[in-house]
Amino acid sequence: MNNFGTMYVFELKKILGRKMVWITLLIMLVLCGVTVGGAVLGNYVVDGEVVDSHYHMMQTDRAYERALAGRKVDQTLLAEMSEAYGRLPEGEERYTLTEEYQRYARPYSAVLHLVRQTMGIKMEEAIVWQADEDAFYAGRLAHEEEMWKAEYLTEEEKAFWRKKEEALAKPMIFSYDDGYSVLASAAYPIGLMALLLISISLSGVFPGEHDRRTDQLLLCSRLGKKQLYRAKMLAGISFAAFVSLLFSAVSIGISFAVYGADGYSAPAQLMYQTYPWDFTVGEAVLILYGLLLAAALLTSVFVMMLSGILHHALGTLAVMSGMILLTLFVNIPRQYVLASRLYGYLPCNLLREENAFDAGLVRLFGTFLTVWQATPLCYLLLGIVFWAAGSWLYKRYQVSGR
C-alpha cells in the first residue's frame, strides 16, 4: 500500500504543530509589513519641526508622477525638468524646503532622480544639467560601460549587453512605479526573513525524531526508510513554498494598498537604469519574487540535508544563521570574478537587486544566461544533489548510544 499522501499530511502536521513556527511566522509577517510599508510611517522633521507626514509626502509625489506617467523621456520632458530645477534659488543648502522647489521642481523630482541614476551623476550635477535627450541615452551607455568594467565583464559579455542596450526602445516611457520599486528593494530583507523562518522550522525535521526517540519506530516500519524520507522532504519543501508565497503575497498586498499597483508595464530601466534587458518593471519584480521562491526551496532541502548530517536541530540552525549573518557583513571584491559571482548565487545573497540583476553571465551550450535565468537551473541541480545526499545519509542512520 502506498501511503505517501497520508504520511505527507502527517509530516506537514508535525512541522506546523510547533508553536515556535507560528510565533516566528507572525513576527516575520509583521516585519514584512514594516519593511514594505514602513517608509510612509512617521513625519518628516526639520530642526525639530514637523514639515509633513511621510504618507502625505508620498501621496504628493505619487500625484506628480502619475501626472507624468505615459510621457516619453525625451527632449521635451527633460527640458521641462531642467527648466523647473533652474528656478531653484542658488546657494540654498536645503533646496527642498524652498517654495520654488515645492512649486516648480518637485513635480519633476522623479525625472531628476532618473537622470541622476541613468547617467551616474551627482545630485548637484543633475540639478544644473542641460537637457539633452541624446546625451541622456548616450550617458546611459557610458554609465553601463563603466559598470561593466568595474564588474570585470569579459569582452563577449560586454558585446552581449551592448546589443541589448541597442535593442531597447528609446525614448522610454515614464511611469509611476513605486508599488513595484518598493517591492523590488524589499525582496532582499523579506527573503532573509523567509530563509530564517524556513531554517528555524525545518532544522528539526530529522533530528526531532531522534530527540523524541521516535526514529526507532519510523525506521523499522515498512515504509519508514524510502517513502518517509520523501514525505518528510516534500513536506519541508511545501512549507518553504508556502512561506515564500505567503510573504510575497503579504508584501505585494501591502505595497499595492499603500503605493498603488500602477506601473507594471513600465520599462525596467526606470528601476534598474544600467541593466539593459528588455523587460518591464512588473516582470522584474515577478522575477525577484520567483527567485525568492527558488531560494526558499533550495534552502529547505539544504537545511534538511544538513540536519541529517549534524543530527542536531540547534546546530543546523546555528550554521544557517551563521551563513545569513556572514552574507550580511562579508562581501567578496569583484576582482575575484568567479568567487564574487558564485557568492552572489547564495540564496541569502541572490535577492539583493544588484545580484539578481548582475551583468555577469553564464555560458551554457553556446548561449549566455543571465543570473536570474541560470539560477533556477543551478538550484534545481543543487537541490537534486542535496536531496540525494540527504537520502543516502538517512538510509545509513543508526539508532544507537542511548
Binding site: M1, T6, M7, Q216, L217, C220, S221, L223, G224, Q398
Partner: protein, 254 residues
C-alpha cells in the same frame, strides 16, 4: 516461520582505552557472536543492564547495523521492506509525538506500516479497545500517564498483525493488573508469531515464555526451555547477576 540470527556481533569503540591513549583503538562487543533460530512462540530475554539485550533487539529490527553476522526472517533479509512489513517493535524508550492524539498517532504509524486507510481506521479502533485507551483516544498523548503511553506503544507494535514481534520491556510502567492482562495478550500472540521480549521481571518470563534466553556481556549464556526441574529461574538469574557484579568489581580493583 523462522527468525534466523547468524553470528551476530556489534562492536563499539572502547572509550576507556581510547582515553588512556593506547595506540590501537580497542573495540568492545555489545553483542558478541550470537546465533539463534526462533520459531513461533514467546521467547523471554533476560540479562542485567548493559548485557546487550537492547542492542540485539535493535539489530533484529534493522535499526542498528551489525558489525558482523546476519538476520533473516523466513529468508527475508533484515534490510528489506518485506522483512519490516512482518515486524512489530516496542522500544524500551518508546517515543511519541506529544501533540498527536492517541488515535492520530496510531493512524500515522499504520500509514508507515503500509496499511490502507480503511484497515488503519479499523485496526486503530480495535487496538485502542484492546489496550483500554478508547476513552482517551482523542486526547493528546502529552496528557497520558506513563502506563497509558506504554499501552499505546504496545498498540502501535501490533498494528500490522506482526509475525515477528520484538518487545523491549513491554510491561515496564504498567500496574500489576495491566501487567497480568498484557502477559496473557503476549502469550496469545506467540501462538502464530515469533515474540521476543526482554524484561527484568523474571515472573513475566516464567508465566508466558516458551523459551528463555539469557545474555551476559553480549553473549548468550542460556537458551532453552525452563521447567521446575531446573530449579527457580529467578534464583538462577540472580546468581548470574551476582557473578557478573563480582567479576566487574575484581576488574575494577585490578
Amino acid at each position: 516461520m523462522e527468525l534466523v540470527i547468524k553470528n551476530l556481533t556489534r562492536q563499539y569503540p572502547d572509550r576507556g582505552s581510547w582515553k588512556a591513549g593506547k595506540q590501537e583503538k580497542k573495540k568492545k562487543a555489545a553483542v558478541d557472536d550470537i546465533s539463534l533460530r526462533l520459531q513461533e512462540g514467546v521467547y523471554g530475554l533476560l540479562g542485567e543492564n548493559g548485557a546487550g539485550k537492547t542492542t540485539l533487539m535493535r539489530m533484529i529490527c534493522g535499526i542498528l547495523q551489525p558489525t558482523e553476522g546476519s538476520v533473516t526472517f523466513d529468508g527475508m533479509d533484515v534490510a528489506t521492506e518485506e522483512y519490516r512489513a512482518q515486524l512489530g517493535y516496542l522500544p524500551q524508550d518508546f517515543g511519541y509525538y506529544p501533540n498527536f492524539t492517541g488515535y492520530s498517532f496510531l493512524l500515522y504509524m499504520a500509514a508507515l506500516k503500509g496499511l490502507s486507510r480503511a484497515q488503519a481506521r479499523r485496526r486503530t479502533k480495535e487496538l485502542l479497545r484492546l489496550v483500554s485507551l478508547e476513552d482517551v483516544a482523542k486526547k493528546k498523548i502529552k496528557a497520558y500517564s506513563g502506563g497509558m503511553k506504554q499501552r499505546l506503544g504496545i498498540a502501535q507494535a501490533l498494528l500490522n498483525d506482526p509475525k515477528l514481534l520484538i518487545l523491549d520491556e513491554p510491561t515496564a510502567g504498567l500496574d500489576p493488573k495491566e501487567r497480568v492482562r498484557f502477559r496473557e495478550l503476549i502469550a496469545g500472540l506467540g501462538k502464530d508469531a515469533v515474540v521476543l521480549l526482554s524484561t527484568h521481571i523474571v515472573g513475566d518470563i516464567e508465566h508466558i515464555a516458551d523459551k528463555v534466553l539469557m545474555m551476559k556481556k553480549g553473549r548468550l549464556i542460556y537458551e532453552g526451555k525452563w521447567d521446575a526441574q531446573k530449579g527457580d529461574l529467578e534464583a538462577f538469574y540472580l546468581r548470574q547477576f551476582e557473578n557478573a557484579r563480582e567479576e566487574s568489581e575484581e576488574a575494577w580493583k585490578q
